[in-house]
């Protein structure tokens, strides 16, 4: 009798807390949306025209020609499900302004209607992100939940990439979060299904596929041999159906070759025009240093014709001394790097750890992958935010990596008018993370848990807060690099060495990224 009453009360409590969580999330999302609205006239990259072209292409051509069309240089290179998404958006675009979806008239169209429309689609599609965060925040206590909302919904990097530069990362990461939230709840089938949807929206997310595979194999397909096989088949059918729906029509029209060619353009070279801050930056720098030193020693060094700054590298090796890097090598390296994560997932497939494992996989993909964009760091930094709100140990790590990740995106916005905006976004974010986590730490210290926390080593021995000496010096270094790039470089070198500030940012942020990878690897090894 009393038990029943109690459970009733419990559900009432969870219901009210759910309502207050939704209210809070709506508040955070509302504030973020106001900021996004104000960003409508800001700088937009060629990605804006890319997506506009896809609206036109998918709505005015038959499906069989989507992956063939070359009217614009910005050809369709996302998987089919995303193309369907664009086709869906095009329905509304045509209602608002038919020029948007015109394959020829719409080229480089930049009237108010198209700008407002496309910006609004990004804002609206962010609802998926909000939903994902909401699902992942269910088991958090109120204060941590609010921090999580602030970190993800107000993420400066997401705002910079999606709402200034223009992309749909919030939407895509939202799908990832939804998938992970299902896994955390133990609803593996739905989680796998959502991940398949994500892969068919953007295949770059496939980096975590091995991990998903191992995890689902061990966690979902358990309970004896036959039961395991049955579950494996069910999961296969669920994932397969997603792929069938998205790729099926193209298979039917015999278009798969074109689709795959577009989706995997390996001709693009190891690094993007602006080097993403990953492992390969060190490789290139090492090569250059070697060439320089050997040249000084009197060896004849052939300098490569292709430069790294052009973005498009042909067949010739861009390296002077070190061996050429091929896609296959990067593929193997990424797999090797993920291996500890796979082992962990195999040995101990725990729903509580899945977010962390997937974040680790994306970190590896970012560090060692082929033609990585700086934007890809969003994939794991957003996930690390979720991990950070659960343990203070990770909060410290997150504080550093979120700043590095956001700062590495600064070169995306090179126009003057966005300068104060990106700086204020980053500074305010760091302030928020710093002080909210600090107050969490001081709170948890003042609690009874104090002893427990200490014995677990969750707070470092000095107990002073989030940052150690090295981290502080590293972050101050970012400030120096920014001041150098913005003011001193121009002053000292004038127009000479124009690539130097960008290179400095890449190398310096790569250090932070490498640190993050090692930190996560260390954690994995400790908890294997």
């Amino acid at each position: 009798m009393t038990k029943k009453k109690k459970s009733k009360e419990d559900t009432a409590v969870t219901a009210t807390s759910r309502v207050s969580a939704i209210k809070e999330l709506a508040w955070f999302a509302g504030v973020a949306t106001c900021i996004k609205l104000l960003l409508i006239p800001s700088y937009r990259s060629t990605d804006f025209e890319v997506h506009r072209n896809w609206l036109a292409l998918t709505s005015s051509l038959p499906l069989s020609r989507w992956y063939q069309d070359e009217t614009s240089p910005w050809t369709l290179d996302y998987p089919p499900l995303f193309a369907y998404f664009e086709r869906f958006l095009a329905v509304f675009a045509r209602l608002i302004d038919p020029v948007i979806t015109d394959l020829h008239l719409g080229l480089d169209y930049s009237s108010n209607s198209v700008v407002v429309f496309q910006r609004l689609t990004v804002m609206v599609s962010d609802v998926v992100l909000f939903y994902g965060v909401y699902r992942l925040s269910k088991n958090l206590e109120a204060s941590r939940r609010r921090i999580l909302f602030a970190l993800v919904v107000w993420s400066p990097a997401l705002i910079i990439v999606d709402h200034i530069h223009f992309q749909y990362n919030g939407f895509l990461i939202g799908v990832l979060l939804v998938s992970l939230s299902f896994l955390e709840e133990g609803r593996d089938l739905l989680g796998g299904y959502a991940f398949a949807v994500l892969l068919c929206l953007k295949h770059l997310f496939a980096v975590a596929a091995p991990l998903y595979f191992v995890y689902l194999l061990k966690h979902y397909c358990r309970g004896g041999f036959w039961r395991g096989i049955w579950r494996f088949l069910v999961m296969g059918a669920a994932v397969g159906s997603v792929f069938a729906v998205s790729f099926g029509p193209f298979l039917y029209y015999g278009e798969m070759e074109h689709v795959l060619q577009r989706m995997f353009p390996f001709g693009r070279g190891l690094c993007h025009a602006y080097w993403a801050p990953n492992f390969w930056v060190f490789y290139i720098m090492f090569d250059k240093a070697l060439a320089y030193m050997l040249g000084k020693l009197g060896f004849h060094i052939q300098t490569p014709a292709a430069s790294f700054t052009s973005g498009l590298v042909g067949d010739s090796s861009p390296f002077s001394i070190l061996p050429q890097v091929t896609p296959a090598i990067t593929f193997v390296l990424v797999l090797l790097a993920i291996l500890p994560g796979l082992v962990k997932a195999w040995r101990d497939p725990q729903p509580r750890q899945i977010v962390r494992l997937v974040a680790y996989a994306y970190t590896c993909g970012f560090l060692f992958g082929w033609h990585v964009h700086e934007k890809a760091s969003l994939h794991f930094v957003t996930l690390l935010a979720i991990v950070a709100t659960r343990s203070l140990e990770d909060a410290k790590h997150y504080f550093l990596i979120s700043i590095v990740s956001c700062y590495s995106m600064f070169p995306l916005l090179f126009e003057d008018k966005e300068y104060p905006i990106k700086v204020l976004l980053l500074v305010n974010h760091s302030l928020l993370v710093w002080s909210s986590f600090s107050s969490l730490i001081s709170k948890s210290k003042s609690d009874k848990e104090r002893e427990k926390v200490k014995s677990r080593g969750l707070v470092d021995n000095t107990g002073k807060g989030l940052l150690g000496c090295v981290e502080i010096i590293y972050l101050l270094g970012i400030l120096c690099i920014e001041i150098w790039g913005q003011f001193l470089h121009q002053y000292i070198f004038g127009d000479k060495l124009p690539f130097l500030p960008l290179m400095l940012i890449s190398v310096y942020c790569a250090l932070g990224m490498l640190y993050s990878w090692i930190w996560q690897l260390h954690w994995l090894m400790k908890n294997l």
Partner: protein, 503 residues
């Protein structure tokens, strides 16, 4: 325990230390301003006269390249018909200082004569930066000073951040300064500083700061009755009233003398500047401003019935009459809350009844309303909404509809921050919900009609007139309520006693 509680009631729903929250609110307010500055300014690419942006830029050009005695004088390089300077000398000095910044980074944008109608991305960015700079140097410090004096030093630390956020994120102020383009943040900032100084009992400092405000924009005189009455009332309660009044008077006179120094060499020069400041030839109202003269002109054609001279007298008398009750209240019983109410009432009286009022002048009554937000949150929200609405046609012309919507929404969100606002007691007067809800519904319909329909040809300004009448009716209600509220303070003398006890 107590400390924890206060942390939970910060402005941000995330628990943070007070100082960190304060800095993040300040940074956020800057962020919002820099975002709004991406949008178009008034008169962008509209030759030959452009708009307020061009006026401000032109003043930089004039002050930078001509001697100060020619600033208000019609010369070949400074034809007063083309955006002649019509603000007091501090605006001219400010233009000169900002002109230096522009001249350093982008000389063509402020070159004499040749820069007229200058429009370039860099020029726009620099101009926008000068407004941001003014905000950082004047309005923000003043607002922080105010919340320190009004909240933190009086044991209301919990609520201070919410109040600060509302003062800094006032959508009307942001959209006019950083969208439309003006420097209201300077004169309003000095006024806030003066108010804070009054509350902190630094009356001399207050007089100097308010003189600054008056010397930046003559519209600051909207607050003059309240300052005058409150300070006079305070002086009268002291031991040597005359001496106190004299001290304040000297402070004001000296400040004015310093500001007007370049023109003090002859009476004619002073008169020339003064005549620039009072443009009576423009008529009692322009466009569709939601004040008494314009709204009643639908029934009584003031402009046709009376000569300008008579109308001047009318408006002067009506304004004084409107401000009179609140002045009397403050002279009789000067109190801090009463002072804030008096600021609201006297500025409202000016807005509603004075000569030549512009839509943008609604910023002036908004300021004391924002300072009163803790005491009268509903009034502030109500006023903000209609103040924005009364400027809607103006902002539409400037293509600032998106910032209009976003800033208003942002303001409402901040106002309703979860755990942000300390619980307020219900107000009997506010029980009539329909009084609020019905006009809001009408205004929403008007917003939509204005954007999507063309008015009938016979009445091209039908929508503007309807908006004006609606806003005017709301303003009258709010002003009436605020006057009653102020006088009720007098009745409950306990109010003043309580205040004394806390101090």
């Amino acid at each position: 325990m107590k400390e924890e509680k206060s942390r939970a009631i910060g402005c941000l729903p995330v628990e943070m230390d007070w100082r960190w929250s304060l800095s993040s609110i300040v940074l956020f307010a800057f962020l919002v301003r820099s975002l709004v500055s991406l949008h178009p300014y008034s008169g962008a690419s509209h030759p030959p006269m452009y708009g307020d942006y061009e006026a401000q830029r032109h003043w930089m050009e004039i002050t930078l390249h001509t001697p100060s005695i020619h600033w208000y004088h019609n010369t070949s390089t400074n034809p007063l018909s083309y955006w002649g300077l019509d603000y007091p000398p501090l605006t001219a000095y400010q233009s000169w200082a900002h002109g230096l910044v522009l001249n350093y980074f982008h000389p063509p944008s402020v070159a004499l004569v040749s820069s007229r109608g200058h429009e370039s991305p860099l020029g726009k960015l620099l101009m926008r930066c000068t407004v941001l700079l003014s905000d950082a140097l004047v309005f923000f410090p003043a607002a922080i000073y105010f919340i320190l004096v009004y909240c933190v030093h009086r044991g209301k630390k919990d609520a201070s951040l919410w109040l600060l956020a509302l003062i800094l994120l006032n959508p009307a102020l942001i959209v006019i300064d950083h969208g439309h383009f003006q420097y209201n943040c300077i004169s309003l900032g000095f006024t806030v500083g003066a108010v804070a100084a009054v509350l902190a009992k630094h009356d001399l400092l207050a007089s100097v700061l308010f003189s600054f405000a008056l010397n930046h924009k003559q519209m600051s005189a909207y607050f003059a009755p309240a300052f005058f009455a409150h300070l006079l009332g305070k002086c009268l309660k002291r031991k040597y009233p005359l001496l106190e009044v004299l001290k304040l008077g000297i402070a004001v006179v000296v400040t004015f003398a310093v500001m007007w120094w370049p023109y003090l060499y002859s009476v004619d020069a002073v008169m020339e500047v003064l005549s620039r400041l009072a443009p009576f030839e423009r008529g009692i109202y322009e466009d569709y401003v939601a004040n008494f003269w314009c709204s009643t002109s639908i029934f009584i054609k003031w402009k046709r019935l009376f000569p300008t001279q008579t109308l001047k007298l009318f408006s002067f008398g009506a304004t004084l009459l409107g401000a009179f009750p609140s002045m009397v209240q403050q002279i009789r019983a000067p109190s801090d809350r009463g002072f804030l109410f008096a600021l609201l009432n006297s500025s409202f009286s000016f807005y509603l009844f004075s000569f030549q009022v512009h839509e943008k002048s609604v910023l002036l009554p908004l300021l004391p309303a924002s300072l009163l937000a803790l005491d009268e949150p509903v009034i502030f929200k109500w006023l903000i909404y209609y103040a924005m609405f009364s400027m809607f046609p103006l902002l539409c012309r400037d293509q600032l509809v998106v910032p209009y919507v976003a800033l208003l929404a942002l303001f409402l969100l901040i106002y309703h921050t979860p755990h942000g606002r300390p619980h307020t007691k219900g107000m009997g007067f506010m029980a009539w919900k329909w009084l609020i809800v019905l006009p809001v519904l009408v205004s929403i319909v008007l917003h939509i009609t204005y954007l999507s329909f063309k008015p009938p040809e016979k009445y091209p300004f039908l929508f503007e007139a309807l908006m004006m009448i609606l806003c005017f009716s709301q303003f009258v209600i709010i002003a009436g309520y605020a006057n009653v509220k102020q006088w009720m303070l007098l009745g409950s003398s306990a109010g003043t006693d309580k205040e004394k006890k806390i101090l």
